[in-house]
């Protein structure tokens, strides 16, 4: 980042306005974009060019760790003090499946949550520099960090789509 960045945030009443603004900014070469929506909106995600979310890696690793833990734990404890119970072998894999399965789900679910929190930067203790509380109600938001010499250009693109509100700050939200 050479020049100090300048943050602009436009609030739109209509979905297509927001999508058009994002596409306009991307076409003009703005990189540091962020959008807000009151619900998961795939048109916005598509406009921003999202691919696969890495959350799935967390789920997979967590699930496999859980399965391994479940089997390892039950097998180890049965070998630790080998007692014949109910005429079954010490290591009775079928009888250990329920526990291994529950551990798979537990670890998988918890690591998915951890992954989500890490990837979406939650909990976010510091509120964003500029924000419109209407984003959780009915408005869509487009945020752009523009270098000082391109602020005018960014403002023009955002204003072209009839924003309800346009906020500015000299502090960039994300570097």
């Amino acid at each position: 980042m050479s020049a100090p960045a300048h943050a602009l945030l436009a609030s739109y009443e209509y979905l297509d306005s927001a999508v058009d603004a994002i596409e306009g900014l991307r076409k003009a070469g703005f990189k540091s974009l962020k959008a807000y929506a009151p619900y998961p909106e795939h048109h916005i995600e598509a406009a921003l060019g999202y691919g696969q979310s890495p959350v799935r890696v967390f789920t997979l690793v967590g699930g496999l760790t859980g399965a391994a833990t479940g089997f390892a734990f039950t097998i180890w404890t049965s070998m630790d003090w080998p007692l014949v119970v109910g005429g079954k072998p010490h290591v009775s894999i079928p009888a250990f499946i329920p526990i291994a399965f529950e551990m798979t789900v537990l670890f998988g679910a918890l690591s998915t949550i951890i992954g989500l929190f890490i990837l979406s930067r939650l909990p976010a203790l510091k509120p964003p520099v500029i924000y419109d509380p209407e984003f959780t109600n009915g408005r869509y938001g487009v945020h752009v960090d523009a270098p000082a010499e391109r602020v005018e250009e960014a403002r023009k693109i955002l204003s072209a789509h009839e924003p309800v509100d346009l906020q500015e700050s000299t502090e960039a939200a994300h570097a």
Binding site: E13, Y14, L15, D16, K34, A35, Y36, A37, P38, Y39, P40, H43, I44, E45, L48, Y50, Q52, S53, V55, T59, T74, T77, S78, D80, W81, G86, K88, S92, A95, F96, P98, I99, F101, E102, M103, V105, G108, A109, T112, I113, G115, L116, L119, S120, R121, L122, P123, A124, L125, K126, P127, P128, Y131, P133, E134, F135, T136, N137, G138, E162
Partner: protein, 455 residues
Amino acid sequence: MATATKERGALTHPDVHHLTDVNRDILKILSRPGKGWWALFLLACAGVGLFFGMWGWQIYKGIGVSGLSAPVGWGTYITTFVFWVGIAHSGTLISAILFLFRAPWRQSVYRLAEAMTVFAVMTAGLFPLIHVGRVWHAYWLIPYPNARFLWPNFKSPLVWDVFAVTTYFTVSATFFFLGCIPDIAAARDQATGLRKKFYSLIAMGWRGSDAQWHHFGKAYIFLAALATPLVLSVHSVVSWDFAMSIVPGWHATIFAPYFVAGAIFSGVGMVITLAVPMRKIFGLEAYLTIKHFDALAKLCLLTSLIVLYAYLSEFFMAWYSGEEIERTAFWNRLFGTYWWATWTMLVCNGLVPILLWFKRVRHSIAALFVISIFINIGMWFERYVIVVTSLSHEYEPWAWGIYRPSFVEMSMVAGSFGWFAFWFLLFTRLLPPVAIAELKEVLPPPLRRQRKEAH
């Protein structure tokens, strides 16, 4: 984009037009406790008092104040445990399984169903602790080695159950809370004062940015995919508490699917029982429409048929096996000491839901409410029949016996409804009881272009 709009409009909330309408209608519930709510809440508090008072009495006097004795060592407490675990199941069914199947009607009911799940598991989880009597030893349930380094027997279904129920509680509570976060943020952005502080804290800084929604959506799918087999496994494991033993009436391979279907049946019944007064008290007619109740009723009908099939096949198999003891056990169910419990179960779960075949019944909220009460009663008796009649009449005639639930036990069953209602009522006032963001997802998005064309 026009086609997407049309698809989204497929599930209609004809009286909800704009995204902001959803916030207005749902968040207003959080700020206005009516007289009806307070009346129910006081009733629930009385139930909680009864519950803990009776539990305290039992702790003071000992487990002898219950009717539990040889041969019936499992009675009302275990019946009620299975009942509440079962109630929990439909919440996860609606929130996870119907999510994966993209059932378009789930949005309006899933939050309340999920909350029901969490509180039902919280209620169920107390009953094993009550049942063991000396509750100060409850930590023995945690799998750790004893003083001589002997570990618990992991081949036992009772130990599986500890894993299943604790996992279920953890995952369903997390899943529930995760789904709430965007809606808590919506509440935060409109609240003031102390409420704003509270919601700011628990929304954890959710703003609805693209990155948050992107990862949230994926995480939600994976959690749903994990919760789906989990919900099927939990009641299967509960059923193996019975089916893995050789007690006549318990030892059957049909038990796992039979229990899962029964759990969903009872849970959907409970969702109807809860949704009807909620709709009335909070004025949610635009969100919980006849279509939603119709879909719930169909789910009830389907699961009641599976349950009825399981009852009949149990009786058939008992006869067809030619096993004298098995035959006696099932004859005893129908015509023995506990005939009234068995017939209550058959009428409530098998006969009454037949009414749901009729569209007129499915479209009458009052009729559905009454039927759902029958289902709740019937499903409690189903577990009573399975637990008590089987144990009271095992192999040896000299070991047969009669069990009568004591006053303490029945009070705690009644009190458990108060405990459940206490949490559920608090939930309706503190967290958005209808999923705001998910409802917005099915509404047609506001478009500028379309509007211009229309002019």
